[in-house]
Amino acid sequence: MAIPKVCGIETEYGIVVRDADLNAVSASSLLINAFLGRTETRAAWDFFDEQPGNDARGLLLGEILAPEVETHLVNTVLTNGARYYVDHAHPECSTPECRTVSDVVLYDRAAEEIMRRSMTRAASLLHDGGEIVVYKNNSDGKGNSYGCHENYLVDRAVPFGRLTSQVTPHFVTRQVFAGAGKVGCESPGAVPGDVAYQLSQRADFFEEEVGLETTLKRPIVNTRDEPHCDPTKYRRLHVIVGDANMSEVATFLKVGTTAVVLSMIEDDVLGDDLVLAHPVSAIRQVSNDPSLRATIAMASGKRMTALEIQWQLLERARSWADRFGLDSVTVDDGKRVLEEWESVLSGLERGDPSVANVVDWVAKKRLVDGYAERHSLEPTDARLKLIDLQYSDLRSARSLASRCGLRTMVEQDAVDFAVEHPPTTTRAYFRGTCLARYASDIVAANWDSIVFDVGTDPLRRVPMMEPLRGTKELTRELFASCATARELIDSLGKTSTP
């Protein structure tokens, strides 16, 4: 049976400094420090990455060496269980691990809110009207890309070769509803004006089918094998091929459909007849075709449109759900994924303008086309690229996405709560709650452990190798009985897991 699809999103944001003498790294650090200035949490990220199998089951307390804490770049853990840090000259925020797709949407929006608060606070620290502005996009239009990665818990027992070949058709074609849209083209050798508008921010940057790279020669399926949990049981599929979405429903669909497809692969019901002949050229063909009519070559020799492939995946997902149930993605969210999936494919097929309420590339294209028509602009006019960039501007006063009538899934109150509080149904609950309660006794934390300094040598590392332990339900009594970190450590010493 497919295992629970614990998942999350890590987003590198574009950054612009105005009227201040800061480079992108310093500006990113300032954003994070400005945000932290408002909270109690200052725990560093712990880069200790040794995961011996004998530490891999539940909680084992032991004496350890001092953690390797990186001091060069700002890197921290928040009380909502997220990681907020500087990566490759960009501010990056990783959501906490989530058990449901709805939670991923909520914590992705919380990450945006964290960015917004960081910008406001940083502006108040800069002099003479200086400002740092954050963009939730994936390219600068000049050949430089930065990622929005998804992560999914996958059963280690699934052969990686089958996983790769069977998930690739989804990664190549899901951009019909998950693409964030882009004015222009950045493929090597592209001539300005050749591609006026395309579905995806990222498709231009993929050059391999499978590989380990993430910053050059990017592969459609990334093979980074760093599970951040029990490596004998799990894989963390690190998906680098997606766009950062402004539309909440698009994020829900991107993550939800992928979690369903991965579940089908685990249950070995997907088959090989949707395998593509040339995935790298196909991902660009699909992206470069807003008409959605182009066909791509299948390994079988047939040709199919991206929408036809998506209808096939949806049909198989329905049969899979009937036979195996939706527990891997949770029943309520699973049903909603199937409904939204059908609705968006129908809308795209009919050319229904209401998909602009859901699909970022359609919403952005309507703005670009409408503006170009009104002012009789050439496709290469800078004002159209400006609309592209400002669609993802996270400032309320400048954001175009927030003015497009995109349908929402979460309320602002829930987003504000999620900025401070972790999801309750994964180990992120234990991480976030420890940081909220015992911040002064925590030296460092990462995805799979927390290091405490409770005043007695040595430091104590609490491993969290199971993503679905450390939940609110499992830790209620523990937290109720431990007012201090010392009591928590003593109490954990007597039991086996948090």
């Binding site: 590198e12 574009g14 950054i15 612009v16 992108a24 990566d87 490759h88 000259a89 960009h90 502006a123 390219s139 600068d140 239009g141 000049k142 430089n144 890309s145 930065y146 990622g147 990665h149 993430t214 910053t215 050059l216 680098i240 609705s343 129908s346 809308g347 229904d352 303008p353 209401s354 602009a356 309420n357 309507r366 703005l367 409408g370 503006y371 009104r374 006019d381 800078a382 004002r383 690229k385 400006l386 609309i387 960039l389 400002q390 309320s396 006063a397 400048r398 175009l400 927030s402 003015r403 497009c404 009538g405 995109l406 349908r407 929402t408 899934m409």
Partner: protein
């Protein structure tokens, strides 16, 4: 900052708000209404968009350069 807030308040009144959770209409009359409404909202947004856009598009687009990331 005060000016910015004032501008934001004004903008939020004059542009369509995000709508919450309405499922796709299936009735054709409703669909036509919905299409007209979407077109009207787009026109309203295009009427006001220059107030939201950065003032010098050419310079801004040229200066938007990022370091490559992952």
């Amino acid at each position: 900052m005060v000016l910015l807030m004032a501008e934001r308040t004004k903008k939020q009144r004059s542009v369509p708000q995000r709508e919450s959770g309405t499922p796709n209409e299936t009735d054709s009359g409703k669909k036509s209404d919905s299409t007209d409404r979407l077109k009207a909202e787009l026109d309203d947004l295009l009427d006001d968009i220059d107030e939201v856009l950065e003032t010098n598009a050419e310079d801004f687009v040229k200066s938007y350069v990022q370091k490559g990331g992952q």
